[in-house]
Amino acid sequence: MSLKDYVTLRVGGQLFGVDAARVHDVFHPRGLTPVPLSRSEIAGVLNLRGRIVTAVCARRRLGLPPREEGAPEPLAIGLEVHGDSYGLVIDSVDEVLKLDDEKFHAPPGNLPPRWAEIIVGVYQLEKELLIVLDPHTLLDAAHLKAA
């Protein structure tokens, strides 16, 4: 039995997990500069301690409805893909969970295509399902185009 750390987070009420080793930091996406003519998933670019980070809206990427009025300020998790810095804008971060590989399941076959390729698998937690995201395909330009 081997354990793996996951950062768990919520987007549109759904619980997601990202391999904790991939998450560089968690921050408030502030001072966003919108990028005209870019895809709708792109929230903008921002300066995070001297680095230019491209913020990608998780709700848009997953095809979820936009944030409700009056919702708390969103958070972003810092990820690196192909040497570029990204911030995945999410609703909130829950905690870091140590999860056992044995409880890991391949994604079910009936997922919408937009979800199917970015989901690595599912953990059955006691209360709910934890959907594990693959940051790579999530933020990859080619996959984004296809989506």
């Binding site: 001072g31 500069t33 990028v35 003519l37 870019s38 792109i42 680095r51 230019i52 192909h82 185009k145």
Partner: protein, 858 residues
């Protein structure tokens, strides 16, 4: 260092190092040979060449590269005969040696690609070399000259690892060409690492001429010598330079500048913190280069640094500069700051650090010139012209990245100058010019730019021929041509699809024209211009920024957002708006700006980026932007600031948004996107074509097509009319009641004069009838000639289109040239001359007199 070749093979370390060093040696041999040929008595040059070739041969033998060894051996034998004075140095002999060098390069390229010597037969070449060495006559034509792939070694290697091809050698080559300048000892040029290795292996077999002569290296020593051999050549070059009386001064002044300089081109990256005095003090040992003597030089310290490390350093410093800027901005807003003094100190240090790191990226431009002596020599023989290549300012430094980008354009231009610019030798003699033509390259710094001049003392550009060609190719209309000055005409050699070469030679005129050169230079924010004097030559001047990493940018506002525009592409700023002198006008929805009697097509930044305009944004500026042939105006809401920005690439996910070339962090910590004027112009181009506006700079046809911009309008009865836009000076919309009628003629007070108004139907019923009812807006086409103007009143301006004008039906009445299909419609083409005559007649009937005395009837 393990080098991954592009073909994916991991080349063995040993081979890899051999390839690198040999490539360097061969570059040196190329230029040395050319020098040697010009001056066969220069013993030192020959020694140097001999040593280099010998080194290659020795190393090949050790590595078991038999094919290479055989060629090198034969070449060396021939060189040996020169050296012993048993054979005269003839151009044929030198060409033969050059052929063998080329062959070696080809084999090396194969070796680089596959890790093995390519198959091939060199017997023809070797036989020729041997025959030549025996003093027999050699027919060069039997030796097949091989096409050497450009940068045979270096080009193959992953650019990230090996970005500055053989810089050390290149610089050495430069130094060799003119040792008097002491250039060979500029930092990095002598491969210090090689030097060091040389000392380790200094008791090499080529200490004495006899060993050299024999050329057979004991493998045991050969191995030790592998590195050292190249270095000895380098050493020798260094000594050659050291003997120059200027050297010490040069070096001393050099050191101040060069101390922090770490030439960044791998693999011979060498940082030289110490003054290279030892080689200067030890010019003697070169005759019998003993290891003991050379040991003293080992105090010169250097290390090889990979470009990646330097790039990383650059990135870090850039970020540090940005952070510094932010800190300064914060401290400015606080009065009580105890941080002010240390912050000031930090700021200064950061600046110095930035300068130093920038210098590690700097390389002498000579590195891009090193192939040129050989090129000019080959050209000289091929074309049968005597050509001198003069190079000045090889030491002028610029960013490595920029250097790479101008290498090919420069080569192309030197080739052009030698081939097309210079007359043949006989022609020169007939003209009373010196028989030897000169191509001169010079470089110097000016502001944040490096200026490079390529000049020849040849025949100059044939301006009348260019004019003919412009018409032939439909690049300009005859009307436009008349208004162009000679210099403007000459600049058309930069236009796409233009080539003046009457005869296409083997070496130039391969279809890559000056337009490519211009594009390349403009892509890096540079400019190119030329000056040509008939009979005395042509000078090209290139001005390029020293570095691309940090650029000067204008921060502009549009659609409530800030953007950075690189300053190099902005020609001028024009204020427009309510009270400004210049106003934005519309031709059929396309925005244009009248600027010094020309129409500048405009692109609105906000709308193009699909940004909503903020309400209070109306004070607008037009940035006149020149990209290649195209000039357009970018309408922005505000120009806020100029700032030195550090360009950072956008994340991959944003690469499809091509209007931005990157992003940067401003002093206030905000991120702004950097506009790419090139991409914007493409967008602009699309828009302009859709709306069928015209660009007055190169009004009409793009190269190749014979399309003409036509104005479509309705006037009188019958088919729509069309007229070439080029004939129209202005489009006016006037109040119809301003038209004054007298004695069956109509006129308008226009710019203080009375301008006759004509109509197509030659009666004024249309004008009169409408003016009786109520005033309406009357469209007017204004034509001007020498000292007069006339207006043609039309019913409606329909469109401006670009189309071919093929008159298919002949005219059936005066004023019409015929009927043509324009934009899918049958249109009558206006006979402009007819209306000019009528307009002129009107003027003569009543010479412009006092307006008041002829008060209108209507």
């Amino acid at each position: 260092m393990r080098t991954l070749s592009t073909t994916g093979y991991i080349v063995d370390d040993l081979i890899s190092e051999f390839l690198t060093e040999t490539a360097e040696s061969l570059e040196v041999v190329d230029s040395e040979l050319v020098r040697f040929e010009a001056n066969p008595n220069e013993r030192k040059t020959l020694d140097n060449i001999f040593r280099l070739v010998h080194t290659v041969k020795g190393t090949c033998g050790f590595l078991g590269l038999s094919r290479l060894e055989a060629v090198a051996h034969a070449g060396e034998t021939l060189l040996g005969r020169f050296r012993d004075g048993k054979l005269d140095v003839t151009p044929v002999a030198v060409t033969l040696v050059l052929h063998s060098i080329d062959r070696i390069k080809v084999i090396l390229a194969g070796l680089e690609a596959t890790g093995n010597e390519p198959d091939g037969d060199d017997h023809d070449l070797i036989a020729q070399l041997e025959a030549m060495a025996e003093g027999q006559a050699v027919d060069l034509s039997t030796v097949k000259a091989v096409e050497v792939p450009d940068r045979p070694i270096n080009g193959e290697i992953e650019p990230a690892v090996f970005n500055g091809p053989a810089l050390g050698a290149g610089a050495l080559g430069v130094g060799d060409i003119d040792p008097a300048t002491g250039r060979a000892l500029r930092p990095g040029e002598v491969a210090e690492a090689d030097l060091e290795a040389a000392f380790a292996a200094a008791d090499g077999p080529d200490d004495t001429p006899t060993t050299l002569q024999a050329g057979d290296i004991d493998p045991a020593t050969g191995r030790a010598l592998r590195l050292g051999e190249v270095s000895e050549a380098d050493l020798e070059a260094a000594f050659a330079a050291a003997e120059s009386p200027d050297w010490m001064n040069e070096a001393t002044s050099d050191v101040e500048v060069s101390q922090p300089v770490a030439p960044s081109a791998p693999p011979v990256t060498a940082i030289k913190p110490a003054v290279p005095t030892p080689p200067a003090k030890a010019p003697e040992p070169m005759a019998g280069l003993g290891g003991e003597d050379a040991q003293g030089i080992a105090t010169t310290q250097s290390i090889r640094v990979s470009v990646d490390v330097l790039e990383g350093l650059m990135t870090l410093v850039s970020e540090m500069v940005l952070t510094r800027n932010q800190l300064l901005q914060i401290s400015r807003t606080r009065e009580d700051s105890a941080f002010a003094t240390p912050l000031q100190r930090l700021s200064t240090l950061t600046g110095e650090l930035q300068d130093s790191v920038m210098k590690t990226r700097m390389q002498p431009i000579g590195a891009a010139w090193k192939k040129l002596p050989r090129l000019v020599r080959d050209l000289s023989y091929e074309l049968g012209k005597k050509i001198d290549l003069v190079m000045e300012g090889e030491g002028t430094e610029l960013d490595r990245q920029v250097l790479e980008l101008i290498r090919d354009p420069l080569t192309h231009m030197v080739r052009n100058s030698a081939d097309h610019g210079l007359e043949g030798t006989q022609e020169r003699i007939d003209l009373g010019k010196p028989a030897t033509g000169t191509v001169k390259l010079s470089a110097f710094h000016e502001g944040g730019y490096i200026v490079i001049r390529i000049s020849d003392n040849g025949r100059g550009l044939n301006t009348p021929r260019i004019r003919e060609k412009l018409l032939e190719k439909g690049l300009v209309t005859r009307n436009e041509l008349d208004t162009l000055s000679d210099q403007q005409v000459q600049r058309y050699i930069f236009a796409p699809g233009f080539s003046t070469a009457a005869a296409v030679t083997n070496l130039s005129g391969r279809g890559v024209g000056m337009d490519v050169v211009r594009t390349n230079i403009e892509q890096i924010g540079g400019q190119i211009d030329l000056l040509s004097v008939p009979g005395s030559g042509t000078t090209f001047t290139i001005k390029i920024p020293l570095t691309l990493a940090i650029v000067s940018a204008l921060i502009v506002g549009a659609g409530g957002q800030k953007f950075a525009v690189p300053q190099t592409s902005v020609m001028e700023l024009v204020r427009t708006g309510q009270n400004a002198e210049h106003k934005i006008e519309k031709i059929n929805d396309a925005l244009v700006l009248r600027l010094r009697n020309k129409l500048l097509p405009l692109v609105q930044l906000g709308p193009t980026l699909q940004l909503e305009a903020a309400k209070d944004e109306d004070a607008t500026f037009v940035m006149v932007i020149q990209v290649g042939e195209r000039r357009y105006g970018l309408v922005v809401n505000d120009v806020l600031d100029t700032e030195e920005i550090v360009v950072k690439p956008l994340a991959t996910i944003l690469r499809d948004v091509n209007v931005f070339s990157g992003a940067t962090i401003l002093g206030d910590g905000s991120v702004v996107l950097i506009l790419d004027p090139n991409a914007m112009s493409e967008r602009a181009g699309n828009m302009l074509e859709e709306k069928a506006s015209e660009d007055t700079e190169d009004t009409t046809a793009h190269a190749g097509s014979e399309k003409v911009a036509m104005l479509l309008f309705r006037a009188g009865s019958g088919a729509p009319k069309a007229v070439e836009l080029a004939h129209i000076t202005r489009l006016e919309h006037i109040e119809s009641d301003k038209i004054e009628m007298m004695e069956g003629r109509a006129a308008l007070q226009y710019r203080g004069k009375l301008m006759p108004i004509l109509t197509v139907s030659s009666d004024f019923s249309g004008l009169l009838s409408s003016s009786r009812e109520e005033a309406h807006v009357q469209p007017l086409l204004v034509f001007t000639g020498e000292g007069y103007a006339m207006g043609l009143a039309v019913d409606e301006i329909v469109d401006v289109v670009e189309d071919q004008m093929t008159i298919e039906l002949s005219a059936d009445r005066p004023g019409v040239r015929g009927t043509a299909i324009i934009a899918g419609r049958a249109c009558e083409i206006l006979d402009v001359d007819y209306y000019h005559l009528r307009g002129l007649a009107e003027h003569q009937r009543h010479p412009v007199s006092h307006v008041s005395s002829e008060r209108a009837v209507a």
